[in-house]
Symmetry: C2
Subunit: 158 residues, 2 copies
């Protein structure tokens, strides 16, 4: 009962929906995540809660750079496809075209916008660690509304 | 130009609107904040980007506990009132009634819900630090929709 109320309250925190993408040597990993916030204006930092020992977590720790792709509100299906394992084929991850960003990280071509990030530090948390990263490049691709977690009917919190 | 695009992209991150409230000895501080996310399920942790050397920041560091009050979508005026300095008078902060939560932190009576938090660590960031805190108590007060930053027309990011 206690725990179900805690879950209810924690799910009232407001989140977006993002795809983190990372390349290590010739392998890719991409994952849909929600625990993302800016953490400083100068330098421009993000803080990200990332599941410990997930594939993307391991790739981020080793490659030290990654992208955060911000989705349009029409891209719920794209978000869902990155709940699954990442498959690279012919310039696409799980069927979605990528390119190499300025800093060398994989970024998606058909998203709202993206941020290219460089790992600053990893803070030990609980079942997720806190990734602190500096924004090194960015592109604003569309003026569409962004996807927010509440509108998807999904939850990640509690 | 570069900076204005960076601002545009960073403002596409999705946030809620919260009032952080803290008591130190017999003094109170409360501030409207947006950079809040869960950071772990077990233990239940939050990560918060808090402006360095703001009054609330100093109170949190010293008192080591605080509340995060989640607002209803009708409470934009309440959020705006905590852009200003905090005044305590007759059991109210800036005109909004508080009570003492189970863990001794001030919490608002007429909000959507609240989380009582205990400071775990402070991570040095840039112009804001990252406050990592464990959730020690919580109350779910209403089933109303919560206030999100985008709907207010305000921005905090860039």
């Amino acid at each position: 009962m206690e725990h179900s109320i805690r879950k209810k309250v924690l799910r009232k925190i407001t989140y977006g929906v993002y795809i983190l993408a990372v390349k290590l040597d010739d392998k890719y990993s991409a994952a849909t995540i929600t625990w993302v916030s800016q953490a400083s204006f100068e330098p421009p930092l993000l803080m990200i809660g990332l599941k410990k020992l997930s594939n993307s977590y391991k790739f981020v720790i080793d490659s030290k750079k990654f992208s955060i792709n911000i989705l349009n509100d029409s891209q719920k299906n794209m978000a869902a496809s990155f709940f699954k394992n990442t498959k690279y084929e012919k310039g696409e991850l799980n069927g979605y075209e990528i390119k190499e960003g300025k800093t060398g990280v994989p970024v998606f071509i058909e998203v709202n916008s993206f941020l290219e990030c460089e790992l600053v530090k990893v803070i030990e948390g609980g079942d997720h660690d806190i990734i602190v990263a500096e924004i090194k490049n960015f592109e604003n691709l569309t003026g569409q509304e962004v996807l927010n977690l509440r509108s998807t009917g999904w939850n990640y919190g509690g």
